[in-house]
């Protein structure tokens, strides 16, 4: 059994492919390339392949992670070749590593933070100062209550998003470009779009979803001292850049 962690980017038109569809894209690519993914034992065996974290529809990413296992020991190069040949345009492999020594937990299980950028692409850039100036008082709030309609409960549900905001800053003098570090994974997760909506609401700027482009820039786990480390460093040392 061999265990791998693949890092790839997702950019351009392909950002409209949903999480589940992405999984199918990879599964089919593996099959076409003749790479057999391991199956779990049990009555309904499922393939041992999964993303560290779903990416919202329409988001781009510079750091997506796919963890999978194979029965046969394939060379990392073979997997890299497969990806470059069989993947749709917009998905690019960045690195693939063996993580056989990563322990029992999956990359998804250790995930704790994710960083994003939010870029305003609309025509009205005049509210740049307003939004930027609002960041400090916005973060100074003890609670930031976001209301979201829950399909499950069939009613609006309130939640405090403040604990999941670790940083937020404006990173460009000219453009409306924000960078942020947010909670991710099982211990508490926040979608950057929800945060930007709250920020815009806070400074009374209209938020139109199609005007914003979000990009995930990295995912992190916490090391022994509680410091965020990129998932790139998760488990194992066998590194190969594709």
């Amino acid at each position: 059994m061999a265990r791998y962690l693949l890092k790839f980017s997702k950019k351009g038109g392909i950002r409209f492919i949903s999480h589940l569809d992405m999984l199918r894209v990879f599964q089919r690519a593996f099959r076409r390339a003749g790479i057999d993914i391991s199956y779990s034992n049990g009555y309904n065996p499922h393939p041992r392949i999964g993303f560290a974290m779903p990416l919202s529809l329409g988001f781009e990413s510079e750091a997506e992670y796919l963890e999978f296992r194979t029965d046969t020991d394939y060379g990392i190069q073979q997997i890299g070749d497969m990806l470059n040949e069989k993947m749709p345009p917009g998905i690019e492999a960045i690195s693939c590593r063996r993580i056989d020594n990563a322990g029992k937990k999956t990359a998804a299980a250790v995930l704790a933070r994710a960083s994003y950028t939010a870029l305003y692409r609309g025509e009205d850039g005049s509210m740049r100062a307003e939004v930027t100036d609002a960041i400090v008082p916005f973060l100074a709030q003890e609670h930031i209550v976001s209301v979201k309609y829950s399909k499950k409960k069939k009613k609006d549900v309130e939640s405090d998003i403040r604990p999941n905001i670790y940083s937020l800053s404006s990173v460009s003098e000219k453009r409306l470009l924000f960078s942020m570090m947010l909670g991710a994974g099982n211990s508490g997760s926040l979608n950057p779009e929800i945060m930007m909506k709250e920020l815009c609401r806070f400074c009374e700027v209209e938020y139109r979803d199609y005007e914003w482009l979000y990009t995930r820039t990295e995912m992190f786990f916490l090391d022994g001292k509680g410091r965020p480390r990129p998932l790139d460093e998760f488990g194992g040392s066998l590194r190969s850049n594709i």
Binding site: G13, I17, D21, R24, R28, R32, D36, P88, D209
Partner: protein, 634 residues
């Protein structure tokens, strides 16, 4: 009222890419409009002489599960100089945005405006998609009526099963193709290239295309009506147009082109799997079944080729499930050895095998357990009618022994779900036949009591699913009157009452309104063109979807255009009456269908024509292939 979409000025190659992309952030299922799927085709303008738009008048996820789309896409794009792109009916949310932002109907591949293409070809799979055709043309900015279109507009073509009675769409479509599409599409494409090169007018092109076998140009024929409103025939308006249009038949399934690199959608579609066509046609001769009549003769693909195609298709797509397609899988002459071989191949590749419409007798339990469809759904059976008498009338050769034999087998195997399909409103049906349906359900429940696994018995369920009989053109029942909605309702309630007392039995039935509309359109004439357009004006689209279907609007459309539902749906047609589709020769003669109708009235079955020719008339055109049947064939 729908905001109108304005045609692109300046024409030619107005790529909409950026404008479409902006909309994608706001819609459900953006992958439907995205393109770029594996094995989809792009061609450069330099290599393109002729632009086809393959139009599927329903959602992407429906269209992409249709094998015909993959076949036609492959055939056309294999022609040098021809570029075929796909166009689907946008979902309601997307349509609203397109109208708001003035984005016209576009192709999936290049996001090119549909109105810029040379020809748009609609596939007619079901009558309830007709208003979507009007809607799509409107979204494209192309006039729906052929008489209103200018020389700059694309030619509008159509094919598929519903074009065997194309009359309700004859005001809209420039020409129809009937029968197998592979050859006729290539011939038509050559002619379209010539039209473009030599600058023919639409009229000149239509004159030429009407001489291609299998092509019907409705504007060359004027329907004639008698005082009673019934049709009496057509008056030809162009002398060289054929008196009757004969359907196209591709005889050799081993040499005809088949897509081994089908497009693989990103999103989940209705059927997410590799599909290999096993054979065309059916020899059983069920008297209600249109496909069984118009798709004759049976033409099998050789087992060696099916096996090779399956393996190549899986390698090219990466699917983990494959399926065989035909009208009746079990009737394939070498089904047993083929399934054995495929099963072995699939097992090696961790691939599931799905075999829809399979009869159980010929398979061992071990094999059944391996078949995906069966694993998922258990047994589904379509006796269609509740008594042997009515099954004789409709010529369905299933017997009680078949049903109970199969049910006993799967119950003993430990399955707890059995699904039975029936029709109500069949010609000659009485309440005794409805009792028969309940009887079958009761007997199967009893079989479970007797043979069922002690632990699972309690979970057992037999589902009785009932659809409403819709008389179709080109079948022996084409003369029959459809039951009135009140009668359908009564029968549904009657059955519900009968089955209510049966434990472990659930009952499903179809709405009567859609069945009634289907019956009108399936046997309609050209006068209904106005009704369809009126219905669209009133807001009708996606009539096959319960959330969109609005029968009140349709009734309004019938009233506004002076069309009578009863005249089309609930009137028995006279045996000597001229039928709107008599201008089409589907291969089976009217004389034979009438003979079959009489046999039905006398409750006499006609044999499966694999056992000997029954004289349907197809031999006027082709020699029907004979296949050595396996031992279990019954």
């Amino acid at each position: 009222m729908r905001p109108a979409v304005h045609r692109a000025e300046g024409k030619k190659y107005m790529y909409l890419s950026d404008r479409v992309e902006r909309l994608l952030t706001k819609v459900n299922k953006p992958a439907s409009y995205m393109g770029g799927e594996l094995n989809s085709v792009r061609k450069m303008p330099e290599e393109t002489e002729l632009y086809w738009g393959f139009c599927f008048p329903d959602l992407y996820e429906i269209g992409m599960s249709y094998l015909g789309l993959q076949i036609i896409y492959h055939v056309l794009n294999s022609c040098p100089g021809v570029y075929c792109q796909r166009i689907f009916a946008p979902g309601d949310d997307m349509e609203q945005l397109m109208r708001q932002e003035n984005v016209p109907l576009f192709t999936v591949e290049d996001r090119q405006a549909a109105s810029e293409l040379d020809v748009l070809g609609f596939t007619l799979q079901y009558e309830l998609s007709f208003t979507n055709i009007v809607n799509m043309l409107d979204l494209a900015g192309v006039p729906a009526l052929s008489t209103k279109r200018s020389e700059d507009d694309p030619i509008i073509a159509a094919g598929g099963n519903c074009s065997f009675n194309p009359e309700p769409l004859s005001d809209i479509i420039d020409f129809f193709m009937i029968g197998d599409g592979e050859d006729v599409l290539i011939e038509v494409s050559e002619l379209l290239k010539k039209k473009k090169k030599e600058g023919w007018t639409r009229r000149e092109f239509l004159e030429h295309v009407s001489r291609i076998k299998g092509v019907y140009v409705p504007s060359f024929y004027e329907p004639q009506y008698g005082d009673d409103g019934c049709m009496t025939g057509y008056r030809k308006l162009y002398n060289s147009a054929p008196d009757r249009v004969v359907k196209r038949i591709v005889m050799d399934m081993d040499s005809v082109d088949f897509p081994l690199k089908p497009i693989v959608p990103f999103m989940e579609t209705v059927h997410d799997r590799s599909v290999i066509e096993l054979f065309r046609g059916c020899t059983r001769g069920c008297r209600f079944c249109q496909a069984g009549m118009i798709c004759r003769p049976v033409r099998e693909r050789s087992p060696e080729l099916v096996r090779r195609f399956a393996s190549e298709s899986l390698a090219n797509t990466g699917y983990d499930e494959m399926s065989l397609l035909s009208l009746s899988t079990s009737d394939y002459s070498q089904i047993e050895p083929l399934v054995r071989d495929l099963m072995a191949d699939c097992k090696q590749k961790d691939t599931g095998l799905s075999l829809p419409s399979l009869r159980l007798d010929s398979f061992s339990e071990d094999m059944l357990r391996e078949i995906q469809e069966f694993r998922k759904t258990g047994l589904t059976f379509a006796p269609e009618a509740g008594t042997q008498r009515l099954r004789n009338i409709i010529n369905k050769s299933i017997t009680d022994e078949h049903i109970y034999g199969a049910a006993e087998k799967v119950i003993k195997m430990g399955y707890t779900n059995i699904k039975l399909y029936f029709m109500v409103g069949l010609p000659g049906e009485t309440d005794e036949d409805l009792d028969g349906i309940a009887e079958i359900a009761k007997n199967i429940v009893w079989l479970n009591k007797k043979y069922g696994d002690e632990k699972k018995k309690g979970r057992f369920n037999v589902t009785v699913s009932v659809s409403n009989f819709v008389p179709k053109a080109d079948t022996p029942f084409q003369w029959a009157a459809q039951d009135s909605p009140e009668e359908f309702d009564r029968k549904h309630i009657y059955l519900k009452e009968q089955l209510r007392k049966v434990k472990h039995c659930s009952f499903q039935y179809h709405g009567t309104d859609t069945s009634e509309l289907e019956a009108v359109l399936a046997r309609g004439d050209r006068r209904l063109g106005k009704t369809i357009i009126r219905a669209w004006e009133l807001g009708c689209k996606f009539d096959g979807w319960t959330e969109f279907f609005d029968f009140e609007k349709w009734k309004q459309a019938f009233a506004d255009t002076g069309a009578d539902i009863d005249f089309y749906a609930h009137r028995a047609r006279g045996e000597s009456e001229y039928l709107p589709w008599d201008i089409m020769d589907c291969g089976v003669t009217k004389k034979y269908m009438l003979h079959e109708l009489h046999e039905a009235m006398n409750e006499i079955q006609t044999q499966d024509c694999r056992k000997g020719c029954t004289g349907c008339g197809l031999k006027r055109f082709v020699e029907c292939p004979v296949y050595e049947q396996g031992a279990n064939y019954s």
